[in-house]
Symmetry: D5
């Protein structure tokens, strides 16, 4: 079951750089683990913004919320979730 | 080069049904031809809306506009185009 | 799996009244059938508006889109879908 | 008398963690007490957001405001209240 | 129990003038009946707009929706309802 | 001459509580003085929000601005002013 | 007492040209009469739009609404009214 | 003196195709004449939309409005005008 | 060449009062100098807001930007600039 | 391949002036280097705002994101990117 998620990151300007780097490193590791598991199917940077569009493949709304709210950057992000369905013209 | 495109369809209520069906049939054929050619990489219905989120893989902005403005439903759609770039955490 | 759906109805002013009544009668029957089946769990009128907030319980995004796009009033409605998850403070 | 309420929580990033935990614990207890009393009928997490959609059953606008403004998280939330009425197609 | 209601009227330009006058006459009579009954406590024109701000005093959400959806101009209006409560600084 | 005013209060989270209480006490006294003088005709809490809808009766725009900009909470509020006129269907 | 008014004109595309010309001629005459009377103090075209920003000098909200709702183009315009007051830095 | 102008075209669906073609042909000729005269310095299609971003070089606001309001498509367009100034980092 | 400018002031709550007073004093002096020079033709307070609507008469976009970006309050303001042209119904 | 980019700068008020000057100096040098390389084709100040409209000529979305995210002011800016295509009426 697919969901499109837009994530916008807003790190406070006064966050110490070491702390920011540590959070981003954990975010990257967590993200790649989910990608390898097939849950985070796509991850694209939005040109010119500290933001991404992602596609997740999960079994339920609860699973998706658990994944998203566990993101190390979650407290610093605005997220928008859009439920996707099969399109009748899709060849897949 | 990837672009996310959201398409919202607004067919006039007074369009004869035969005309609507004919446009939709051409739209479907055109869409599937572009999917098979690898240009229209993803096509997802937005749940509850006569709308889709799509990902296109094109060589240039001009190619994308030519593809989109040739859609049989183009005169009846609102489109939003977002340029995508490689995300540093993507494993692809 | 629960979803909150807001539906706003916009019937064209020039739709013949008999046609409008016939669509609304089919909408009501379809809605009550889904309520009895446990799919359409709640249906509330928004005070002062020709609109409702509803909660659906479905197995997948595809099932929800099939239900919503089959609504007799679907061509005359704007819909907004919000995916819901279990709240940690809920006692249910 | 039912009301739909959307609550978005915005805790300041510099709030000490112990203080945040204490407020959230009081919020949870207060929420569950109201749920058990039948006043807070539904409580759903919005997927991907630190926010919820809730349904309250109260006797008056004053009672609802008293309940909401007494929430321990009230100073850190944005709330939107929508009055609900019986829908003529509802089977309940 | 008080509610603030904003009503914006949008009559179709092609409505015959006699029909428009007839609807407005019924709207006025209905409005004045509700004012005399104490239900429609205030009715103010918004300067420069075909719109009003009104205050209703009703016993329930259902009563308010019944009143509003019975307005002769209801099919041609956009309404926004805001629930009001007692303000602790009010001297009334 | 009537004006509808919506006031939204945004006190900084780091304002000392004693200072906040002192400002609110002055606000309340000032508000009640204006209510008794007939200038601040109505004052309603918006349910679920730290906000109010008020109706002022003043002789001029300048008088209204003087009143509003003298509110002790003025530096911490967002205000929206709507000029009201007599409605032809009003019985008052 | 001054008010800034923005007026956006939306003439239906199917209005016969003679009718449009007649309305515009009446609008112009009415506008110039009010300008000569000192009520309509300023009238500026917004560059690139079928719209204007105007400043009115009236004795009351009621007078302003009477003036604006009598505009021949009133049924085809969207108006926004902003109450103005004396600025403490103004030299006038 | 430079201005950025965004133009969005909304042709009515029921406009006869011959009329639409005639207007577009006049628009193109007029646009190219202004481009050759150096007034319309840039003209770019917005990808996926029946819209353009243009840069005009004019001597005054009045000249710009005269140019824009003379566009054959003007009655069918929404325009947004942004005044531009020299940027201190520009090398031109 | 006229421009309408809306200025909204947002002074940080933690700015020392002496500093705020000094900036406002310089703003007032600068504003009155420009008014006497005929550049800042009008300056009106927006009722209920720490904001103003102003009309400037300048020779070019560059001159206007130089004036506005030299305002002592410029770093604390949001500005919106609208280019104005002669209106065909204006008697001036 | 052209892109229109709008950049709005929001420097924190508490940033030390020396730091702000250093960032702006690097921004200017970087911008002029890209302008000389033909990548940053246009750079215009938006009148009255700490913002610019720019046109970039790049080979890919990835190149554009690399350029933009390397701007010294990037952490303090909001950016909006619009993909541009050849306009059929352009004479270039």
């Amino acid at each position: 079951m697919l969901f499109l998620v837009r994530m916008d990151v807003h790190l406070p300007h006064d966050m110490p750089q070491a702390q920011a780097e540590e959070i981003k490193a954990r975010e990257k590791a967590y993200s790649q683990e989910l990608q390898r598991a097939g849950k985070w199917q796509q991850l694209h940077r939005i040109v010119g913004e500290y933001a991404n569009y992602s596609v997740f493949d999960v079994d339920s709304n609860d699973e998706l919320h658990t994944i998203l709210s566990s993101l190390p950057l979650f407290p610093y992000m605005t997220l928008q979730v859009t439920a996707l369905a099969r399109h009748p013209s899709s060849i897949r």
